[in-house]
């Protein structure tokens, strides 16, 4: 291969992939919760992506493609150093959190909006099992489609939907808790009474349909 292949490739890579460096770093942080490890992960991801850039087809979303590589690098590293957290452990963590029983306060929402700083949100995310944190970050922060998230996470779309659904409610609950503006006992939402006043609590789990099963 002559250097000009590399030079062309590099220019294309710098134009198409490099703009997603911040997003990659955010995703790496969401996975690792550690700045140094995220840094490392992103470096390896970008080099790998550059080497594999010929396999990237234009038209697919470069960000989602990079995230898939990043996730693979992350999992390979975890497997190598024996720190892989599997789904069972994640589920165990949910039980520990007991999040299913937690209500979240639905108002005054403005208080949440004002007080929910980046640190607070990150702290709340950090208390969530990785799979749920990952799904929420990919959907809510990075705006990936369910299909793209399924490819990054290596799970069926139904699982993605379930993780987003539960993850969002977990995050909102943990955030409300850390802001100290929770709480009442969880009540099933009365569907026959649509006009709820502010200050009421709505259920965390809107549905237990099969499609949202893990």
């Amino acid at each position: 291969m002559w250097p000009f292949h590399d030079a062309d490739r590099r220019r294309r890579f710098e134009r198409e992939a490099l703009p997603h460096l911040d997003a990659c770093y955010r995703f790496a942080l969401a996975l690792t919760r550690d700045a140094a490890e995220a840094d490392d992960l992103v470096q390896e991801t970008m080099l790998r992506a550059f080497r594999a850039f010929d396999s990237y087809t234009e038209g697919t979303r470069c960000k989602a493609w990079l995230f898939r590589i990043l996730k693979n690098v992350f999992l390979n590293r975890r497997r190598t150093d024996g720190r892989e957290v599997d789904l069972e452990e994640s589920l165990g963590a949910i039980q520990e959190l007991g999040w299913e029983d937690r209500p979240f306060y639905r108002s005054p929402e403005d208080a949440v909006l004002l007080a929910a700083t980046r640190d607070r949100i990150e702290e709340a995310l950090g208390r969530m099992p990785r799979d749920f944190r990952e799904a929420v970050v990919l959907a809510d922060v990075e705006g990936l489609s369910y299909q793209e998230i399924a490819e990054v996470m290596g799970t069926p779309i139904g699982t993605v939907m379930s993780r987003i659904h539960r993850g969002r409610r977990m995050l909102r609950s943990l955030l409300g808790e850390s802001l100290g503006i929770l709480q009442e006992t969880l009540q099933e939402r009365p569907h026959e009474a649509p006009n709820r006043g502010p200050g009421q609590v709505i259920p965390l789990v809107a549905t237990r349909e099969g499609r949202h099963d893990l």
Partner: protein, 238 residues
């Protein structure tokens, strides 16, 4: 749509994952049902909040610099990895060696050739011999001679017009079993008329200069010297 359905679909709605007709039904329900509307609106605000707060996180500038630097110094896989393969490659150069009494005269010219090799950003003309010849014809003040004959493992990629010092030159670009190989060709200028082959190393690159059909040619590549030595007729080998 019932409230129950609306709640079941609120994530899909939020994420823009509903089919258009479902979305319309959802929106019709939200328009008619304040309770669901409030709930969905809160989720939208919550999602926006999370996106805004976390979306402002940027990669540290040291990380960006490091990535850019590593990309720029990165060499394509295989260049170094295929050295063993390349060692088995024997380049066949055309005959026509003449003695070069003062090889030191060539050094500055070789420097130009090495610089040209490293600076190549792409060929001006890409393609086979016929394409390259027809492109170069009339553009250089000496006869167009494709420097290397066809041989297995060596492929002409293209050429570009360059200068060696003040002299017009052509840089031919080859792929030699995965290794970039250039041949810089120019007309001799009397004082440095090559009379013997010259093989040496420069910046980790093997450099061979030899005359052919009245032109001076400098081959530059990251092939091992022993491989390139194979191209020199036995009587001229150092």
């Amino acid at each position: 749509m019932t409230c129950e359905e609306a709640i079941r679909y609120e994530d899909l709605y939020l994420d823009g994952e509903m089919a258009p007709e479902e979305r319309l039904r959802m929106e019709a329900h939200l328009a008619a049902c304040p309770s669901c509307r409030i709930q969905v609106t809160e989720w939208i605000r919550f999602r926006t909040l999370v996106r805004q707060r976390l979306g402002e996180v940027r990669a540290p500038s040291s990380l960006r610099e490091s990535v850019v630097h590593r990309l720029r110094t990165h060499r394509a896989p295989g260049w170094r990895g295929t050295l063993a393969l390349a060692a088995s490659l024997v380049l066949v150069l055309p005959l026509g060696w003449v003695l070069w009494p003062r090889p030191d005269d060539l050094k500055p010219l070789e420097d130009h050739a090495v610089a040209a090799h490293l600076a190549v950003s792409g060929p001006e003309v890409q393609g086979d011999r016929a394409t390259v010849v027809s492109f170069l014809q009339g553009r250089v003040p000496f006869p167009v001679r494709i420097p290397l004959p066809d041989q297995p493992g060596v492929r002409l990629l293209g050429a570009r017009i360059a200068r060696v010092g003040t002299r017009p030159a052509v840089v031919y670009l080859y792929d030699a079993s995965g290794h970039p190989l250039s041949v810089t060709q120019y007309a001799p200028d009397g004082e440095d008329l090559p009379r013997s082959a010259r093989i040496g190393q420069r910046d980790g690159l093997t450099v061979v200069t030899y005359p052919a059909e009245g032109l001076v040619q400098t081959v530059v590549g990251d092939l091992p010297e022993s491989t390139v030595t194979g191209i020199v007729p036995a009587s001229w080998r150092p």
